[in-house]
Amino acid sequence: MPDRRDQKFQAPGRPFWSGTISFGLVSIPVELVTARRKTRTSLRMVAPGGTRLARKFYCSAEEKPLSPDELIRGYELPTGEIVPVSDDELEALAPEKTRDIDLTRFVPREQVSPMYFEQSYYLIPGRGGSKAYHLLAEVMERTGRVGIATFVLREKEHLVAIIAENGVLSAETMRFAGELRRPEAMGIPDATSSTARARAKANAKLVKRFEAALQAKATSTLPLDELADEDARRLRELATAKARRGEDVVEGDAITLDDEEGGKVIDLMQILKQRLGPGAVVKPATRDRTKTRAAN
């Protein structure tokens, strides 16, 4: 498990959600903490001179720029027809805002393939939930089971696996069955089929050689050095070397577009918070740019 004492891992942040885990009539107050947080610095997209870019919306019919409140979402049907859907309608369709993780089944741990896992969160006990939390964690760990549950987060309903490890519960949101492809669709042979087993027997020498070559690389712990972000390191090295030489450095202007943001609507407050670092207080914009700099 990612140990607090290991410098490689980030410190846990504050809980961003609180609710309960329910199974039967038992209800355990819990809070969610992010378990994974991207720290890679994204490249920004700028104009040739290094100045800011702005994303503008253009109507394809009239070819004129639009403001965000002139926009509406639309859903394209197979027929090609587009049905406009307003924010109010989407909210009405959104799942009921409960704060409950509804646990309906405990399954053997080995039955849940990592192919299902999407986003990870840690669960910590909420007020008054400590005893029940530890009870649940201990029972699950001892019996080698994970809980399958559903819950609503940010207006989406998620399938989630509740996993107990070293006394700590985690929630792993899962992909739905329809979102995973089957290997049969790609014609990949199944090594456990009888024909495959026969072939493996005929190739017993090759199997042994492969096994030996694999075992030659056996280690008892995860080599964390191998899991470093080499791409990010090289990029940062390239950029900082140029900066030291004074090459192509452009004065930052607080807000630039993130290369990877794609079509998302830019959340300015979010960008400001990221740029100013954790713990910064974001005050309403002032004309005086030195104030923004001082907070860096």
Binding site: P2, D6, A11, G24, L25, V26, V33, A35, L43, V46, A47, R52, A54, K56, Y58, E62, L66, E70, L71, I72, I82, V83, V85, E89, L93, E96, L103, P108, P114, M115, I124, K131, L135, V139, M140, I148, S170, E172, R175, A177, R181, I188, P189, R199, A202, N203, L206, F210, E211, P223, L227, D231, L235, L238, A239, E247, E251, G252, G262, N296
Partner: protein, 276 residues
């Protein structure tokens, strides 16, 4: 860029390999094809102009006084944001110098116990299939199954470096990319307080309750209800139907002591909490 979005059409994509690699073990080079294992079924919306329902493009403009000039993506530049708030412009050649060399090599880094890779590490799943030599593939899967461990591998694809875990599942190789160590958050402190330790009775009851809800993992039981509702709704709207929204059901919330709740659950629970 632009209003590129998926549609409701379930594109039965040709399951084509997205990349080909070569894993060398003891002098044998095993050709492998990589397939995406994820079928994106999320609900996608297009952005429209509310007035005439015309699709909307997103374009980039340079900010400044006077007429804003529209830029093509190819005309834009990339900049790295430094910690002091300034930016360093990077040319395409410079960016190309830090990407990994093009290679088909899949390098075996380590063979680790499965428990070492806790669920937090896993990112995106792929399948590895044979590339012309089924026997070599089946032998590889069999060998990996015999080790009862997971193979950590490294490769470069689409100008990026990847690390992943290869595990046998249902007789095939699943390759799951892994997160980077710096993305992982350490476990929070949840040490139990001594005075809140569960009694033996509570422990027994909890075990019984968990037992009642035991079952097998059947992913087909669970559906993306939100997606289904949105699809039903837009189809009904397209047909010109008027849709009424029902007020949500009120959920009962329990509020008793732990032991009482556990016992009550076993009484009531055994009946209606049967794995559905």
């Amino acid at each position: 860029m632009g209003g590129k979005a998926g549609t409701a059409v379930t594109r039965t994509k040709q399951a084509r390999a997205i990349w080909k690699g070569e894993l060398e073990l003891d002098g044998e080079v095993v050709g492998l094809k990589l397939y995406s294992a994820v079928e994106n079924q999320r609900v996608h919306f297009r952005l429209l102009h509310e007035k005439d329902l015309a699709p909307v493009h997103q374009l980039m403009e340079e900010e400044g006084d006077g007429d804003a000039e529209v830029l093509e993506v190819a005309e834009t530049r990339r900049a790295f944001p430094l910690d002091d708030g300034n930016l360093v412009l990077l040319s395409r050649e410079e960016l190309a110098s830090v990407v990994p060399e093009k290679s088909r090599r899949i390098e075996l880094v380590a063979l680790v116990p499965r428990e070492e890779l806790v669920h937090l590490w896993y990112d995106r799943p792929y399948f590895l299939g044979p590339d012309g030599d089924d026997d070599a593939y089946v032998s590889l899967v069999t060998a990996l199954m015999h080790t009862k461990r997971v193979a950590l591998v490294r490769w470069a694809m689409r100008n990026k470096r990847y690390v992943g875990a290869v595990l046998p599942e249902e007789g095939r190789l699943v390759l799951c990319t892994l997160r980077h160590a710096d993305e992982i958050v350490a476990m929070p402190r949840v040490e139990p307080s001594r005075k809140a330790a569960p009694t033996r009775k509570e422990m027994q009851l909890a075990e019984q309750l968990v037992d009642v809800l035991v079952g097998d993992f059947d992913p087909t039981l669970y559906q993306d209800e939100y997606r289904n509702r949105v699809l039903e709704y837009v189809e009904a709207r397209a047909r010109g139907e008027i849709v009424l929204f029902e007020p949500p059901e009120e959920k009962e919330l329990p509020g008793n002591s732990l032991e009482a709740s556990l016992e009550a659950s076993l009484g009531k629970g055994a009946a209606h909490a049967r794995p559905s």
